[in-house]
C-alpha cells in the first residue's frame, strides 16, 4: 500500500504535503526538504494490547492498569471508557444495594449481578472493542485532516483526526517546521480558519461548535486551585493519566503538558454537579423518585469523574463563539470588499446550511443564512480577489454561487453533469451523485479560475468566474487517479494536484520507467497555445511502495475509510420516531 499525500498546502515556493500522520515539505521541484513525524511511541505495552485484543476486558482490570505508554489517541479513548465505566459501576452498585432486600424468587441477587455484568461487557466489547479493532491503525496514527497557513506564512496549523488535536508549527520560510504546541480539543475539529490578524484560530468541530483559541499559547504552570481541584478527584489513576505528559521525541522544544489550570469549565462542572437537577416535586412516580435518590447518592463519584473530564478538556484557553446543531464541515473568516472594517465568520454544516455571522467579538450576531442546498455542504470557497462571492458545494449536483453578504443566490453550475460528460459512458452510468471535496481558486488577471474535485472521481473540473459574476464550466481534465487535494504554486504558475496512487491508471511498465507511481501532479496553464490547463510533461512527484520508511500497516479498506469521508455525510438514515 502506498500512502498518498492527501493534504497539500503551498507557502510561497514551499509545498507542505501531509502523508498519513506526517507532514513532508518540498521545494517547487519536489525535492524533499524535511519531514515532521507524528510523535508515536513504537512499542505497545501489553496492557494496551490486551485492551484491544482480549474480547472482554473486565472493568476492574481496565481500571487498575494505567496505560502510560500507549499512543495518545488510543489512550484518550480508553480513558473516556473508563470514566464512564467507573460511574456506571458505582451507580449500579448503589441500585443493587437498594433492591437487594426486595428480590423475590427467580434469580439470586448474585446471579443477576453476574448476568448484568456480562451483558454490559458484551456491550462494551461491541461498541468500544469493535470500534477500536476496526480503527486500530487510525488510532495509532491519526491522519492529518487539514493544513492551514497564516497570511504571513510564519506559522502552519494542522489538525489530526482521531486524537482531535490542533498542532501549531513555526515555519522558518525554508520548509522547516518547529512544533510549538499541540492542543487536544473536546470534540473533533473538522475545519479551521485563521483570523486576518493571525492571532486566533477558529476551530469548527463535529458537534457544531466554533471555538476560538489563540494561535500561540504557552501552557501555564499548575496553580494552587488546580491542585485543589485535582485533589478533589477521587480516583488517582485517572488524574495521573490526565496529567501524564505525552512523549514527543522529535521536538524537545515542545512544552510538556502539566496539570492544567482550572478554567470556567471546571468551575461549571463543580457547581453543576453539587445537587441533583430534579427535586421531589418534579418527579411524579415512585420509580422516578427512587431514581432521584440514587442520583443524589452517587453524585459525589460522578462529580469526580466529570471534574477529571473537564480538567482534561480545558488545558488551554478556548472560547465558544457560535454553534450549529449539526456537524460543521467548513469555516471561513472573510472581509467583504465593500466593508473593509468588518470581518465575518462563515460556517457550513451537514444540514444544508451556510451561516454568515459577524466576526469576533460579535460572533453571536447572525447576519444571514445561505439556504438552497438540498444535500450536505462540504466546502465553501471565497476567492481571494473576489471577496464578495462565495462558491459552495457538497452532495448536491450543482455548485452554488452566492452574494453572501446579502444572502442572495447568484447562480448555479453543474458538477454531476460535467463529471458524467467527461467520463467514459460505462463509467458515467455508475456515477449518480457527487461529493465535492475541494473548491479552490486561482486568480489570473480578470478571471478567477475555480478548481473543483469530487470524491473518487478522477477528474479536475475547472470553472471560471468573471468580474460580471458569470460562473461557468470551462474545462475538465482527466487525471491518472482520484485527486485528493489541489494547490497552486504561484511563483511557477503551476497547479499541483495530489492523487491517490492506489487508484492510478498507470501501467506497471510506466511505473518502472517513471520510477514510481505518480502521487503529485503538476499542471501548467497555457492560454495562448492550447486551450487552458494541461498536465505538465515533467515535474510532479513519484512514490515507490517499497522505499518508504513510513509504509503503513493499514488495509486498503481502512485507508479508503480515512481518505474518503465526504460521501458519508449524505443522509441515508430514514428511520423515524
Amino acid at each position: 500500500m502506498a500512502l498518498p499525500y492527501h493534504v497539500l498546502k503551498v507557502c510561497d515556493g514551499i509545498v507542505f504535503a501531509a502523508r498519513g500522520s506526517n507532514i513532508h515539505s518540498f521545494d517547487s521541484n519536489f525535492e524533499p526538504i524535511s519531514v515532521w513525524k507524528y510523535p508515536v511511541k513504537q512499542q505497545e505495552t501489553n496492557a494496551e494490547k490486551a485492551e484491544i485484543e482480549t474480547p472482554a476486558p473486565t472493568v476492574e482490570a481496565a481500571e487498575e492498569s494505567p496505560v502510560p505508554e500507549g499512543p495518545p489517541a488510543k489512550k484518550r479513548k480508553v480513558e473516556d471508557g473508563e470514566v464512564v465505566a467507573v460511574t456506571e459501576e458505582s451507580k449500579e452498585e448503589t441500585t443493587e444495594g437498594q433492591t437487594e432486600t426486595k428480590t423475590e424468587g427467580g434469580l439470586t441477587q448474585h446471579q443477576k449481578e453476574v448476568n448484568r455484568r456480562s451483558r454490559r461487557q458484551k456491550q462494551k466489547q461491541k461498541t468500544e472493542g469493535g470500534w477500536a479493532k476496526n480503527n486500530k491503525a487510525a488510532l495509532e496514527k491519526p491522519f492529518v485532516q487539514g493544513l492551514y497557513l497564516t497570511t504571513d506564512s510564519r506559522h502552519l496549523v494542522a489538525i489530526t483526526g482521531s486524537d482531535k488535536t490542533i498542532w501549531v508549527f513555526e515555519h522558518d520560510g525554508a520548509g522547516n517546521l518547529k512544533q510549538l504546541s499541540q492542543r487536544a480539543m473536546p470534540k473533533r475539529p473538522c475545519a479551521l480558519a485563521l483570523t486576518p490578524d493571525n492571532k486566533t484560530i477558529l476551530s469548527a468541530d463535529k458537534f457544531g461548535d466554533v471555538f476560538s483559541l489563540p494561535l500561540l499559547f504557552t501552557p501555564s504552570e499548575p496553580t494552587a486551585s488546580a491542585a485543589a481541584a485535582a485533589a478533589a478527584v477521587a480516583t488517582t489513576t485517572t488524574i495521573s493519566e490526565v496529567a501524564t505528559p505525552e512523549p514527543i521525541p522529535s521536538t524537545p522544544a515542545t512544552p510538556a503538558v502539566p496539570t492544567p489550570p482550572p478554567t470556567t469549565d471546571v468551575a461549571k462542572v463543580q457547581s453543576l454537579s453539587v445537587k441533583p437537577q430534579a427535586n421531589e416535586l418534579t418527579v411524579h412516580t415512585l420509580r422516578n423518585l427512587k431514581a432521584l435518590e440514587n442520583q443524589k447518592r452517587c453524585l459525589e463519584r460522578q462529580k469526580a469523574a466529570k471534574l477529571a473530564a473537564a480538567l482534561q478538556a480545558s488545558q488551554f484557553e478556548h472560547t465558544l463563539q457560535l454553534g450549529h446543531v449539526s456537524m460543521l464541515t467548513s469555516v471561513a473568516v472573510v472581509v467583504h470588499p465593500a466593508y473593509p472594517g468588518r470581518t465575518y465568520i462563515i460556517t457550513a454544516d451537514r444540514d444544508e446550511h451556510i451561516r454568515v455571522s459577524r466576526g469576533i467579538p460579535q460572533a453571536h450576531v447572525i447576519e444571514g443564512f445561505l439556504l438552497g442546498h438540498d444535500e450536505f455542504v462540504s466546502r465553501v470557497c471565497i476567492p481571494e480577489k473576489r471577496g464578495d462571492v462565495l462558491i459552495s458545494g457538497g452532495g448536491d449536483d450543482d455548485l452554488f454561487v452566492w452574494d453572501w453578504v446579502s444572502s442572495k443566490l447568484l447562480g448555479k453550475a453543474p458538477v454531476l453533469a460535467e463529471v458524467r460528460k467527461a467520463l467514459a459512458p460505462e463509467e458515467a452510468e455508475k456515477v449518480t451523485k457527487v461529493a465535492v471535496t475541494k473548491i479552490f481558486d486561482v486568480q489570473q488577471g480578470e478571471k478567477t479560475h475555480i478548481f473543483v474535485i469530487c470524491e473518487r472521481i478522477p477528474l479536475l473540473l475547472i470553472y471560471t468566474l468573471t468580474s460580471d459574476n458569470t460562473f461557468q464550466h470551462t474545462q475538465t481534465l482527466s487525471l491518472l487517479g482520484t485527486p485528493l487535494d489541489v494547490e497552486y504554486l504561484k511563483a511557477d504558475s503551476k497547479l499541483i494536484v495530489s492523487i491517490d496512487p492506489n487508484t492510478s491508471s498507470e501501467t506497471q511498465e510506466e511505473e518502472a520507467n517513471n520510477g514510481g507511481v505518480s502521487s503529485i501532479l503538476a499542471l501548467s496553464f497555457n492560454e495562448s497555445v492550447s486551450s487552458g490547463w494541461k498536465v505538465a510533461p515533467t515535474g510532479g512527484l513519484k512514490v515507490t511502495e517499497a522505499a518508504e520508511d513510513d509504509s503503513t500497516t493499514l488495509t486498503p479498506q481502512d485507508l479508503q475509510k480515512l481518505l474518503y469521508t465526504t460521501e458519508s455525510l449524505r443522509k441515508t438514515n430514514k428511520d423515524d420516531e
Binding site: 458537534f207 457544531g208 461548535d209 462542572v269 453543576l272 454537579s273 445537587k275 441533583p276 437537577q277 430534579a278 427535586n279 416535586l281 418534579t282 411524579h284 442520583q295 466529570k306 465558544l320 457560535l322 454553534g323 450549529h324 446543531v325 449539526s326 466593508y339 472594517g341 468588518r342 444540514d351 444544508e352 446550511h353 451561516r355 455571522s357 459577524r358 467579538p361 460579535q362 453571536h364 450576531v365 447572525i366 444571514g368 443564512f369 439556504l371 438552497g372 442546498h373 438540498d374 443522509k571 438514515n573 430514514k574 428511520d575 423515524d576 420516531e577
Partner: protein, 293 residues
Amino acid sequence: MSEPKNKRQKREDYRAALRANGVTELPRKKFYRQRAHANPFSDHSLIYPPTPEQMDWASLYPHYAVEEPTEQKTERTESEETLGQELSAPAIRKLTKNVEVADIGCGFGGLLIALAPVLPETLVLGLEIRVSVTQFVEDRIKALRVQNEEQKLYRNIAVLRANTMKFMPNFFTKGQLNKIFICFPDPHFKARKHKQRIVSTTLNSEYAYVLRPGGIIYTITDVPDLHEWMVGHFNTHPAFERVSEEEQEADPLVEIMRNETEEGKKVTRHNGQKHVALFRRLEDPQWPEEVSA
C-alpha cells in the same frame, strides 16, 4: 409481544377512521401516545423547506391564503415562458400575513388552543418533533375549526413537525417572529445531555435571528435548575435582557402560559412549582468599526 402490536394497530385504526370522517370530533390522546423524548441530533425523515420562501404556509392556514394565485401565471408573457416555468413549478400560495408567534415544543397543543382566541389577528405556529403528538394537535385543530366554523375560530393556529434546533432558519426569515414560547422543555437532567437542551448559548443566537428587536421569549418550567440554566444563558447572551417582574406579571399571555399548557395543568395537579422568565430581544450592536469611527 402481541399486546403492543395490538395497541399500535388500534391507534392506527383510530386515526385512520378519524381522518376518514373528516375530523369533526376532538381526537383522544390515548391513541397518540409516543415516547416522551426525541433525539434532536438524529436525522429523522423530516420535511422542511430549503428556504423560508419555499414554505407552503397556505396548506397550514388555508383561510389566510392569498386568493387566485393562478392569475399571476396567466399574466406572464410568452417571452418569460422558460423563466416562468421555473418559478411556477412549486406554485406556492402566499399568505396575507406571516406567522409571528411560535411555540417551540408545543406538545399536545394546549397553549396554541388557548392563544387562538386571545391573538385573533396573529398567526400562531406550534412546532413539535414527535410525529404522533404532532398528528394529535393537527387533528385537534382540524376538529376545533370544524366545530367553531361559524365563529371562525382556530383558523390562526397550526402545527408543524420540525426539529427547531436544526431547521428554524428554514421556516422563518430574519426578524419574522414577535414572540417565542418555550414551555416546559425537556429538562435533560444528565450533564452529558445538556447539549440537547433547547436553550443554549449557541441556540439563543438563532432565536435572536428569527426574533425582531423588541420581541419576547417566554419560558416556563417546573425544574428549578433548568430555570436557572435558561435564565443564566439568556442573561449572558448579549442579544437578550430579562423582562422585569412587573412587566412579566402584567402580560396576559403569562397567565395563559401558566395555566393552559398541558404540562402546566399536570404540574398544578401535582402541586409543583412553575418558574417563569421572559426575555426581550435587543437591537443588534453596532459594528466595532462604526463604534470607533
